[in-house]
Symmetry: C2
Subunit: 335 residues, 2 copies
DNA sequence: ATCGATATCGCAAACGTTTGCATCAAGCAA
DNA sequence: TTGCTTGATGCAAACGTTTGCGATATCGAT
């Protein structure tokens, strides 16, 4: 931060004007070749680097994009970040990262901070607790480019990158049915979380498709490892009547497998289990988890692709797009 | 980014000067209470937000810190990021994240980008491939605040946050010895990676302490899941003569356990295995992995604490500090 | 009435760039 | 010589702030 050399220093040292230096450095045709090389060489020599802050202020463009993410320590999300970083790096953008920790107030603060920082656009996956979307709507109405990924909100019109959660839920459940299960427990996410609702919808649809009864008591809100443990006893009571489980994510599926095994259940012989996510744990648990693959890295890339596309299209000509990633069932041993 | 209201707009609307608005908004004593409330209310009303870019440029301080990290998708590193983000959020700083993907050129580019962005300081964990540290040294000499964490470099003098890897390696190995192992294989990281060397040093020290022979052929460079698979045959040849394994990280330990089990070895009865890291996988693999705990979140927090401490101490008065986190052995079932 | 103190406020420079426009000299045609 | 074009460069405003200093008005004290 100290004694950084500026364009002004170059001008003074070479006895030319600031504007000449500026133009020379970016090959403006008005500047003679001789002064250009003179200035360029000198700049190189003293290791001149433009001040991005000043640039951003001047051109009203920061080449920075903001990211709001629920939890960084989460395989899916960190994969998403990785994909985002990779692509934006290639495109000359930087990412400012904010973690909402599933807290809507912190999420709101993050949005404000990012806007204050004049990021060119924002990538966001909603926190579980967010119920009020007015600030997002307002930002978008004001023309702030924003793309929602994974945890989106249907009521705000904008670009989106999601996967087909309904189809994922359907696929998972149908596979269980095909394997002969008829009493399938669904460990679900909170119903106001869209992805949770969709996955449940898929579960229900598969049951309907195969003319199986939908039993409310077999849909249990339970979407974390911890929750599996707290609901342990209730789960044990349910067990005798079920022969398959579709869990809303891998970690609950795995936690469930662990307590099932402790009770002596054999998987998949006694109970079949399928998860959602296909994180690295899926191949470590025994039996290896059959689960829905979720392409975090690709979704991350696609999100910034969509954002940049909008940034580079000055006019709001193109209508909002929704990219849907198809789910794939990774068949392993647990079902 | 569009029609953002500025301090100038407020001035014009209220018929006062720009400086008055600026001072009023920050409670400068020169401004009368009446104009203060007038201006503040108006600013609130039209939802004025200062332009952080302009601020940063003016005060030569961006309230932003740069992070260079090898791989985001890695439990330890994502925990570190999480801790960093949490603390810097509290302290009013933002984080710009760059991923080196274990590539020294990309790492160098990231450093330059961050400096160009005038971040107030940099947090970095070196890529595996980095051998040339001149740019870091230069940056530090120029007074750029930088703290290295985990993957540090001894030859550059700066603040550091590490864990006692030697002690970790010693602890792990000694535990194996205590359990009766005398032929212990070490799956090691590349020796130019400092943490790899230290963990190996700890391994050797434990052997020496207990008067066990150090066999070079039992130290194998193998630090990823993939490498375990490629070295599979070589490992199988080694197996008959060993009764314990200390792996440089959890994922190799787990990969090893998996191929051991495939060969019919019982763990820990036939071979004891201890890992390093204590990620979420450690409790999923069977048998649960005995491993060295690595406090990523805390190390992340401590890193920004150290950095902010230096930022807030204008003079370079305080000498460089190295924070060392003590390792803890998490005893489970694999050893 | 004069003076100094005090309270309020505005001017303008500065942070590091970019860029429209003006300037100036040289060259050339008439 | 005059006038016009062309090539090369500099001036200054602008991006949105902060801040040292000067300006003005008010007021009590002498």
């Amino acid at each position: 931060m100290k004694n950084k050399v500026t364009i002004k220093d170059i001008a003074k040292a070479l006895g030319v004007s600031i504007s000449t230096v500026s133009r020379a450095l970016k090959d403006h045709p008005d500047i003679s070749e001789s002064t250009k090389t003179l200035i360029k060489n000198f700049a190189q020599e003293i290791n001149y680097r433009p001040n991005v802050l000043a640039l951003s202020l001047r051109q009203q463009k920061s080449h920075t994009i903001g990211l709001i993410i629920p939890e960084i320590v989460h395989h899916f999300f960190s994969s998403v970040i990785s994909g985002m970083e990779d692509l934006s790096y290639r495109e000359g953008y930087n990412i400012i990262i904010c973690q909402s920790t599933e807290n809507q107030f912190r999420e709101a603060a993050a949005l404000q901070t990012l806007i204050d920082h004049r990021v060119d656009g924002i990538l966001i996956s909603l926190s579980k607790s967010t119920q009020n979307f007015s600030q997002f709507k307002k930002a978008i109405e004001e023309g702030f480019p924003m793309v929602f990924f994974d945890r989106i909100c249907e009521s705000v019109e904008t670009d989106r990158v999601i996967m087909d959660d309904t189809e994922g839920g359907r696929l998972a459940t149908e596979y269980l049915i095909d394997k002969g299960c008829s009493n399938i427990l669904h460990l679900a996410a909170s119903s106001h979380l869209l992805i949770g609702r969709y996955r449940r919808d898929g579960y229900i649809q598969a049951l309907k498709d195969h003319h199986l009864p939908i039993k409310e008591e077999l849909i249990l809100k339970c979407d974390t490892q911890e929750e599996v443990l707290t609901l342990q006893n209730h789960l044990y009571e349910l067990l005798p009547q079920i022969d398959g489980v579709f869990a809303v994510n891998d970690s609950t599926a795995i936690a469930l497998i662990q307590i099932l095994k402790k009770k002596g259940y054999r998987i998949p012989q006694d109970i079949r289990v399928v998860g959602f996510g296909d994180g690295p744990n899926a191949t470590i648990v025994e039996p290896a988890l059959t689960t829905i693959e979720q392409k975090g890295y690709d979704m991350g890339r696609e999100s910034v692709r969509l954002l940049l596309q909008r940034l580079n299209n000055p006019s709001a000509s193109i209508s909002y797009q929704t990219r849907v990633f198809p789910p794939t069932l990774k068949i392993r041993e647990s079902a």
